[in-house]
Symmetry: C2
Subunit: 121 residues, 2 copies
């Protein structure tokens, strides 16, 4: 069960780790979209877009409904809720410890001014 959840998280974060898919999600937030519509903004083949959508489905972020010859996609609220919940908990998990860290960092910043360069490495 935990195993299952882990794989779900892997899939969700993997799905979010690609700018194309993030934009598709953003697009879907305003309503249903066909595969073609989702692919539209990108300079990639329909087949490539189809694979991205499959990745989103695998992560449970998107549901698909076939009507006629067109496939309509929409965000999957249930799975989104799970991701939401996890992220929220994870954030708290971090921020609980960030208070301590922030103090350390503030001390450091005091004698070691903010490195504001591009930070690219």
């Amino acid at each position: 069960m935990v195993e299952q959840q882990t794989r779900q998280l892997d899939a969700v974060f993997h799905a979010l780790g690609d700018a194309t898919r993030r934009q598709m999600l953003r697009d879907l937030a305003s309503g249903e979209r066909t595969v073609g519509q989702l692919a539209g903004p990108f300079p990639i083949s329909l087949a490539a877009a189809s694979k991205h959508i499959q990745a989103l489905e695998r992560a449970g972020l998107v549901r698909r409904e076939v009507r006629g010859r067109t496939h309509w996609c929409r965000l999957d609220a249930m799975s989104l809720a799970a991701a939401h919940r996890w992220l929220r908990d994870y954030e708290r998990f971090w921020t609980d410890h960030l208070d301590a860290l922030e103090q350390v960092l503030r001390e450091e910043d005091a004698r070691h001014p903010p490195t504001q360069d591009g930070d690219d490495r």
Copy 2:
């Protein structure tokens, strides 16, 4: 600039998309750890663990300080805060458009009090 942000997000989500790295982050939340300590729980070589840590660094989630021959790692609060902020915005972006989602979350919160120690591994 947006470009830069996109790549940062790619790196962050990619880093979170691996259970080994998620556990390392969880481990780091309780304090500094050496590379060896972080690698400890996993049945992989030190070199492999080192690569995972480098991925976390690339995402800006972890900072490293070399003291003597040991490398001490800790969460990078600045980058973490940025990720935190982005996730929160993204969540709102979604929930604004998903009435169903909010209801689901409210129901879950009601019968499923904050799960500390989410155990995602």
